[in-house]
């Protein structure tokens, strides 16, 4: 067995809103191996974003614990990159200065920051837009800028929360391929949250289906060869076999049909 980078141990999370308790997660356990690309699939409201926030250290679990690189998570760490569903580029900074931001916080020199940012801008295909402000960017360009800002800090663990769900189908596939290209050979670990089964199969080494309150109801390895093209891979017969199984798991989705991971 390979190294486990993230271990979620029997985690529960309850929120209190206006005096009423909401159980977002209960009894969630999950191991993520170092260097793997794991997709978490679940219907909206199953707690997948909450789980990602817990792994990022933005919030603390009510019960249980999360261990990352051998340490109990108690806050944000520099080796973790988080790409949220919503763009969080600072509106008063242009693309270049937004991408430089993580290095600015680490007090790198300006010339060094700029050199790295310019290189990444090229890698994500944003050349010529360095001086544009976020509100002047299209949805796809804003995603690329957010991706570059996350990657510039050279994280080992990438948390992606439905990163392409707001894009149109064609742009989504383009971005999915680009993410796979950027990830390939990096050795980075990815936890990719989505509600789109096809996206999960096309991208992941492993797909984990979450049921109510974030419980793992299905967990399976995806044996499709890499490098993958997210469009071509959909034409393979085994793709549809897996898709069928995952649909079943997702629609069953109740604790009674739980499958041990």
């Amino acid at each position: 067995m390979t190294d486990v980078l993230v271990r979620v141990e029997n985690v529960a999370k309850t929120f209190v809103r206006r005096g009423i308790e909401h159980v977002a997660l209960d009894g969630v356990s999950l191991d993520v191996e170092k260097g793997s690309f794991v997709c978490l699939v679940g219907r909206s409201g199953c707690g997948k974003s909450t789980l990602l926030n817990l792994v990022a250290g933005l919030i603390a679990p009510t019960r249980g614990r999360i261990i990352e690189s051998g340490r109990v998570v108690d806050g944000p760490r520099l080796n973790v990159g988080y790409l949220t569903q919503k763009d969080t580029l600072l509106p008063w900074r242009d693309v270049l200065r937004n991408i430089e931001m993580p290095l600015e916080i680490r007090k790198l020199e300006r010339a060094e920051r700029e050199r790295k940012a310019v290189a990444l801008i090229e890698r994500v295909g944003l050349q010529g837009r360095e001086r544009a402000y976020p509100r002047e960017l299209s949805g796809g360009m804003a995603r690329r800028a957010s991706l570059a800002r996350m990657l510039i800090a050279q994280p080992e663990l990438l948390l992606l929360d439905e990163p392409f769900s707001a894009l149109d189908a064609q742009l989504r596939q383009e971005m999915q391929n680009e993410l796979l290209r950027l990830w390939a050979g990096s050795g980075n670990t990815v936890i990719f949250v989505t509600h789109d089964i096809e996206e999960a199969i096309a991208m992941g080494d492993r797909v984990v289906v979450l049921g109510q309150r974030g419980r793992v109801v299905h967990d399976e390895g995806i044996a499709l060869p890499r490098p993958r093209d997210v469009i071509a891979v959909r034409r393979r017969p085994e793709f549809h076999v897996v898709e069928e199984r995952l649909w079943e798991a997702l629609s069953a989705g109740s604790p009674a049909t739980e499958v041990a991971s």
């Binding site: 949220t84 969080t88 509106p91 008063w92 931001m101 916080i105």
Partner: protein
């Protein structure tokens, strides 16, 4: 319609208004009330020649600029002090709202008692008018920072000082500048109202003294100077707007504390 036509039609409309005005004022009785474009034009030329226009305009601009600067600085400072401190904000809320609710012109007599009828009283009146607009915008800017932006910087490894300097201050400043932009014409209102109430110089005084002598040509001539001044200030506002609109946040016109 082509933009060229719009300009042409505007000029046609202006000419029509002036012609109608001039013909109406051929009646001696009506001319007493509305003067006439030619009389106003002559008065304008006379004021330019003897320097009256420059002297009074300079006074009004001075009061407007001083009042705007004092009000904007005080408003931004108060917004940044009260913004993060919700308890203090809640305690002061009814006091600030009640002072804000007073029509500022009603404070003028009090300011005359405190500061006399000189320049200071107009500056204070403009300051008070500007202060609230800038204050409420700064306050909203400090308080309405998107928590997702704060989280994003936190995840990058930013501490609370970084979050303050790189997220809260820039966000609040853009909101404060929006308030300041809105407040520019109000500074002029404050200054002119002060001059109308008690003064011996400034455009407001020019209007008031001409009216007290039933000199309608003088009143209109001074109003035209004021219109030009206000137009220049609005153009300035537009220029600032274009400069910042590439990234600016939405203007806050609700003027609320909580």
């Amino acid at each position: 319609m082509k933009p060229g036509y719009v300009v042409v039609w505007r000029l046609v409309l202006l000419a029509a208004i002036l012609a109608a005005w001039q013909s109406v004022s051929s009646s001696k009785t009506l001319a007493f009330y509305v003067s006439s474009p030619s009389a106003i034009w002559n008065r304008e030329l006379q004021w330019i020649a003897d320097g009256t226009i420059w002297f009074h305009t300079f006074i009004t601009v001075e009061e407007t600029v001083a009042g705007f600067a004092c009000g904007a600085i005080a408003g931004i400072a108060a917004g940044f002090i009260l913004g993060p401190n919700r308890t203090l904000g809640a305690v002061l809320d009814p006091f600030i709202i009640s002072v804000y609710s007073i029509p500022k012109v009603a404070l003028a007599p009090l300011f005359i008692v405190w500061f006399g009828v000189g320049l200071t009283m107009k500056v204070v009146l403009a300051t008070v008018t500007v202060f609230f607009i800038v204050f409420f915008n700064t306050l909203a800017g400090v308080r309405n920072v998107d928590p997702d932006l704060v989280n994003a910087v936190w995840l990058m490894g930013g501490d609370s000082r970084t979050i303050l300097l790189k997220v809260i201050v820039p966000h609040a400043m853009s909101s404060a500048l929006t308030g300041a932009r809105i407040a520019i014409p109000y500074a002029l209102i404050g200054a002119v109202v002060g001059e109308l109430i008690a003064s011996n110089r400034g455009i407001g005084y020019l209007i008031e003294s001409a009216a007290s002598q039933f000199d309608t040509a003088g009143v209109f001539a001074a109003l035209i100077v004021l219109t030009i001044l206000a137009t220049i200030l609005n153009a300035l506002v537009d220029a600032i707007d274009r400069y910042t609109s590439r990234w600016k946040v939405e203007a806050n016109l609700s003027l609320r504390m909580n």
